[in-house]
Amino acid sequence: MSEFRRFRGTDRYLTSDALESAVNCALALGRPLLVKGEPGTGKTLLAEAIAEAMQLPLLTWHVKSTTRAQDGLYVYDTVQRLYDSRFGDGDVKDIRQYIKHGPLGQAFASSGKVVLLIDEVDKADLEFPNDLLHELDRMRFRVNETGDEVAAKERPVVIITSNNEKELPDAFLRRCVFHFIDFPDKELMKNIVAVHHPGLDRQMVEQAMAVFYDIREMRSIRKRPSTSELIDWIAVLKNAGIAAVKLERELPFLGALLKKEQDLAAYADQLAGGRRFRS
């Protein structure tokens, strides 16, 4: 039954049953795993954790607004070739010298199994995911200039993350295993903090988490802080040697939790209002 290695998280990356199940589905069926969720819930880290747990090399393809599907497969460096032909450098006859594999190309051409992370796929143009359908399905592509076919010997583990900036096309979605990373509950969050900051005073962690959840609950906050912000904030507090925090106006290093100016203002408002109410 288990001819494949099951993913169970790592020492540094804690998972839920649902996430493990989704990863294992993707591994067993050889389909890409699409991960969505609030920013800062560890979408990108998941790929690193999978690579670590399965001891496979990790290739990363950071998608930008100008990225095109072709860039991930290969780039034919025509300009270099033109220059070489003009100045007589290099072996101009060998087109292969000027074909450079992108991250997807590298993953297919690699001799062993690899983990490929396509990060923030929604940043690119709307048509971007559609252009990758065939390649991700068949795990092979043809280099038009040379007629060579690059085919994956072992299907790479493809992890795709999305921040929901654009909706992804249905045809693309249908080929993926989908997982939506929930915001961790308090129990899991405590464990996550413990993994990142081992040996931290328990009282301190409880206080920091209480403040953190209070801030998340505030209705007027637009960009709610998430796991990565909490981890960073605790790191800052630790380095500054602060031993106790409570929800108050002059919260130390508040900037690590709230990243928007209007949120900082809303936070101050809320607390000022609360104090007046209490007295």
Partner: protein, 401 residues
């Protein structure tokens, strides 16, 4: 049972088909669900759901389809009745508890239960009426009522099972038919893009470079071209005041999102009241009027710039407002509906977004206006459909309402 589940999902407009069914079957064949309902829930969710918008529907459908796998109140009615006829000895009760029991005789309880089982369609927990768990209703399991009927065996302790996960419905906030959020609108509006090459020449035009170099007998001749830029121009017209008051917040959000969408070349916003006549206003306080004829001349299809028109209003008004002449002086023989038809004619890519629920779209002025403009409800789904309609730009095809 699984096929039923599939159709239950489809009934809730979750896009699942053969592909998903085959994928789940394959996963089950490989034993990914670890032979548990919990595991099946996770596997099916990962493979059948493609967007967090549908997670809530999945949970509901799962609850409906697989209730029987764990405890189906409705299916075990007969068993229930037999339990009622033969009550088990009860534990020692306090006088208060006894009084409560006596308040309900067996016959009444049985009748109530039968009735409730007929009425009950879905799971109800923590309440005091329906058959469910953890409540104070006389029927259910794990509840508080000492005279209650325990339905479906005792509640096991330990980790929450698939039913509990499904019943928790924690993905409710992600439903797309719920409220519109500015961000969701932005996501939908992003689709309204049109790329064109415009501006400074910054990009290498490879094909032309090769062409020119070849013409130049091998001497390198680099050709550059302007990069692709977004060339979308949008006109947004909004109905304000009167019957639009209750929808004010949604319309405001649409407006904010449109303003924030920096990827457009141009956005014009105008206001009208009830129906568009000869004039539009630049502010919602009806100041600075603009003549519709001028607007059409400037932005219509003959102006050479393709503007996209989005109207937003409830389209509800007295029939005379639509068929009457309320226009400006020089156009006083043009009715409201004719003005709208004018607009539709000059803006091929146009839609009407309506904050009213589609159930109320029949037999009033909405129906008439929906024949002029393709009309979509002002929800995330409706907005995306509307945007798709604009992008496709099909001519004069009003949606059957």
């Amino acid at each position: 049972m699984f096929i039923d589940f599939l159709y239950e999902l489809r009934k809730r407009k979750v896009p699942v088909g053969t592909q998903e069914a085959v994928a789940v079957a394959e996963a089950l064949a490989k034993g990914l669900h670890e032979s548990s309902l919990e595991g099946f829930y996770q596997v099916a969710r990962a493979l059948m759901i493609h967007s967090e918008q549908h997670l809530d529907d999945f949970d509901i459908a799962f609850g409906v389809a697989f209730r029987g796998a764990q405890a189906t109140a409705i299916e075990i009615t007969e068993e229930l009745l037999s339990w009622l006829k033969d009550p088990k000895p009860m534990r020692e009760l306090s006088p208060e508890e006894r009084a409560m029991i006596e308040a309900l005789d067996l016959e009444t309880v049985r009748e109530m239960l039968e009735q409730r089982l007929r009425e009950q369609k879905e799971r109800h927990d923590g309440g005091n009426r329906w058959v469910g768990t953890g409540g104070t209703s006389p029927f259910g399991r794990g509840g508080e009522n000492p005279n209650g009927i325990n339905v479906g065996g005792s509640t096991g302790k330990g980790k929450g099972g698939a039913m509990q996960s499904a019943d928790a419905r924690k993905y409710k906030p992600y439903r797309s038919d719920a409220t519109l959020e500015t961000r969701q609108i932005e996501v939908a509006l992003r689709k309204l893009r049109l790329f064109a090459r415009d501006g400074a020449e910054q990009e290498l035009d490879l094909d032309k470079t090769i062409d020119e170099t070849a013409r130049n007998a091998g001497e390198l001749e680099v050709v550059v071209r302007p990069p692709r830029r977004n060339n979308t121009r949008v006109i947004l017209m909004m109905d304000v005041g009167g019957s639009m008051e209750p929808h004010r917040e949604y319309v405001q959000q649409l407006f904010t999102a449109a303003r924030r969408a920096t990827h457009w070349k141009e956005l014009r916003t105008y206001y009208f009241h009830n129906c568009v006549y000869g004039k539009l206003w630049k502010t919602d306080g009806f100041q600075e009027s603009v003549s519709v004829r001028e607007l059409i001349n400037e932005c219509g299809k003959h102006s050479g710039r393709s503007y996209k028109l989005v109207l937003c209003g409830d389209a509800l008004m007295a029939p005379y407002e639509l068929m009457g002449f309320a226009g400006v002086a020089e156009d006083d023989r043009v009715t409201g509906i004719e003005w709208l038809m004018h607009l539709r004619e000059h803006f091929e890519r146009s839609v009407w977004l309506n904050p009213e629920h589609p159930r109320g779209w029949k037999g009033n002025t909405i129906e008439a206006i929906a024949k002029v403009f393709p009309m979509f409800p002002l929800t995330v789904e409706g907005l995306s459909e509307g945007v798709d309609e604009i992008v496709k730009g099909r001519r004069s095809r009003a949606r059957a309402v």
